[in-house]
Symmetry: C2
């Protein structure tokens, strides 16, 4: 936790918060905070700044808060991700959040196992939990937007063309395609497939919607690694 | 597993292997292979090609092997990594292996908890197991070299200058430093710190050994994500 992230419900006055639970535990056990100590804090979807510990015990902590700093800019990116397996999903959500992705769309694909859609990690609360861990890691306060699209074809045919309009549209896909571009200046819509990749029909449909296939070399990377590598290259 | 990786002990003739255990299980349960099927194979530290399943049952599989393809090139990179916590270590080893790092040095640092050095994941067998999973993922056959250095100062003072000589030496470190360069042509020696980062003394010692600090923006990334992002940017 590199940033103590505060929610509206934590504020007991305009410049004062009271914390308990996970964040208090982290302050006590990992950071070993004492009264008087100053911590880096941020308000969810708001500014960042510092918090001074006024008092703390095993039940709660009270901090005086001063917020004056904008969070880091988001990447101008809509990331379409074929729904990963549950264990990978948790990590990918953290990665996406910590790298500053603006909007994530979790999409079905032929190679997404049907059981993946049943995971409890897809509830709004579970998604939010992982996104917040990513923000705390990266020192950001702004949650990415997450959209779930269980049906590939209607989404890609009916909604994706408008979403991708005016952006650089890309599909990460191994094969005889141009290399993924570097350091682009414009907004990007990037689709990354499941383990085993998109099927040819899906690559075609994504191309019809304005997303052109690009590759990242001969090595096949895990989804989480591919996401990070493509983002680090594009921005 | 995107590549069935074969070891010398698997060969019962020059062009024939017999497999059991983990790889057989994967062929049966995940890939659902049948006699006559063709699989992508590689020989550890050797060539890649294809294997045809001659027979298989729940005890063993026999394949006829043809190898004619070079594995993908390694990145000309020596990666110095402050020893991550055991759970992260496993994943980082896979990532390093799948991204094609040539040499990995696991190093001590002030912020590496002493207990991390006690993990069973640091035995040669455990390290090799994770590296092999990375090679199978990425379709590579060549194990990276892994060196363990438990003492920061003697390594950085006595051995690092010679290792880094003639390479672009970099330390990933947040702060008011130049951005990490992109698409370098030369060999690189890159040091990545622990959670919480290198301490100033360590950054100084690494700089004296020829490694200059570079940063990757305001966001603090987990070690595994930082490794991938820096490599994707450099190469």
């Amino acid at each position: 936790m590199n940033l103590l992230l505060l929610e509206d419900g934590d504020f007991i006055a305009e410049d004062r918060v009271r914390l308990s639970g996970r964040r208090l535990k982290h302050m006590l056990e990992v950071q070993q905070v004492a009264p008087g100590d100053s911590l880096r804090v941020g308000r969810l979807n708001g500014l960042m700044g510092s918090g001074q510990v006024l008092q703390l015990d095993t039940e709660q902590a009270e901090l005086s808060i001063s917020l004056d700093q904008a969070p880091p800019a988001k990447l101008p990116l809509t990331l379409l991700l074929a729904l990963p397996r549950p264990k990978m999903l948790k990590r990918v959500l953290q990665t996406v959040s910590s790298m500053g992705v603006q909007r994530l769309i979790l999409l079905n694909s032929y190679r997404v196992e049907k059981s993946f859609w049943q995971t409890p990690f897809l509830t709004p609360e579970a998604i939010r939990e992982q996104l917040i861990l990513g923000l705390e890691q990266a020192r950001d306060t702004v949650l990415p937007e997450v959209i779930i699209e269980k049906r590939f074809k209607p989404f890609v045919e009916d909604r994706l063309p408008a979403l991708a309009a005016g952006t650089l549209g890309l599909v990460g896909h191994p094969g005889d395609y141009p290399s993924c571009p570097r350091v682009v200046e414009q907004a990007v819509t990037l689709a990354i497939g499941p383990e085993g990749g998109w099927i040819p029909y899906e690559v075609e449909k994504l191309a019809e919607a304005g997303l052109q296939p690009v590759q990242l070399g001969a090595r096949i990377l895990r989804v989480e690694t591919a996401v990070t590598a493509l983002l680090a290259r594009l921005f």
